[in-house]
């Protein structure tokens, strides 16, 4: 099964109640699966960066075995609203 942005998005919504997910396929030459995601979830509230990133990693554990490079930005709904307002 190939990893698609939609798959990643669905998993994050189901796994950590993400209310907003942006997935960018950054695979260079489309040969090595690489993704950049922006995840917004209320479950990130009160959690330090490392913990948030580990939540995302656990959610996508299967996919990450195949993915070569992975960037992530994790925001709470409040941080997301602030960012949008800028």
């Amino acid at each position: 099964m190939s990893i698609t942005p939609d798959l990643i998005r669905e998993k994050l919504i189901a796994g950590i109640a993400a209310i907003h997910v942006d997935v960018e396929d950054t695979s260079p030459n489309r040969c090595a699966a690489s993704f950049k995601v922006l995840v917004v979830s209320p479950q990130f509230e009160g959690k330090p960066l490392l913990q948030r990133h580990r939540m995302v990693n656990n959610c996508l554990a299967e996919e990450l075995k195949e993915i070569h490079a992975f960037e992530q930005k994790t925001l709470t709904p409040e941080q997301w609203e602030k960012l949008k307002a800028q």
Binding site: P28, N29, L49, H53, N57, A69, E71, Q72
Partner: protein, 155 residues
């Protein structure tokens, strides 16, 4: 800040073929590497991360990073005037490359450790740098960030 982005972008463009080569290499050996990832290898890593205050597992070396994300970490450390750190090139050693991912339960390289504790990868490190948290964390290690002196000069 912009210089990090441009130099990282440059590295990514130049280094994309490196991605492919290293990735294929990693996948061919990953089964074997997992077998070799014994308790001894994990114990070795546990010692390695405690030996120095700042430890970085990266692709390439600080003088010649082989990956945009690894380069970003190197550049950030340079900006803070941290040049006394241990850097391990995972491209040189498949045991370390797979072992460190198991050790820190983290899927990607680069990986940064402060005082034996896993800090994060490039994303986290960059955010810590932008938020000012990195200066504080370095201070806890007894390292004075060069950025503090720059601030003083500009005032």
């Amino acid at each position: 800040m912009n210089s990090i982005i441009t130099s990282t972008a440059r590295c990514l463009r130049l280094g994309s073929w490196h991605y492919r080569a290293a990735h294929n290499n990693g996948e061919l050996l990953s089964g074997w590497a997992r077998l070799m990832c014994s308790e001894a290898a994990q114990k070795n890593l546990a010692e390695i991360v405690k030996k120095d205050k700042v430890v970085v597992f990266m692709k390439g070396t600080p003088a010649q990073p082989m990956c945009g994300f690894s380069n970003a970490v190197v550049q950030i450390l340079r900006m803070h005037g941290v040049d006394n750190y241990a850097a391990y090139n995972v491209l040189d050693d498949q045991d370390i490359r797979q072992g460190i991912k198991t050790f820190s339960n983290w899927p990607t390289i680069p990986q940064v450790f402060f005082n034996g504790e896993f800090v994060g990868g490039c994303d986290i490190f960059l955010q810590m740098h932008q938020s000012g948290d990195l200066v504080e964390e370095l201070q806890k290690l007894g390292i004075r960030s060069a950025l503090l002196d720059q601030e003083k000069e500009s005032k």
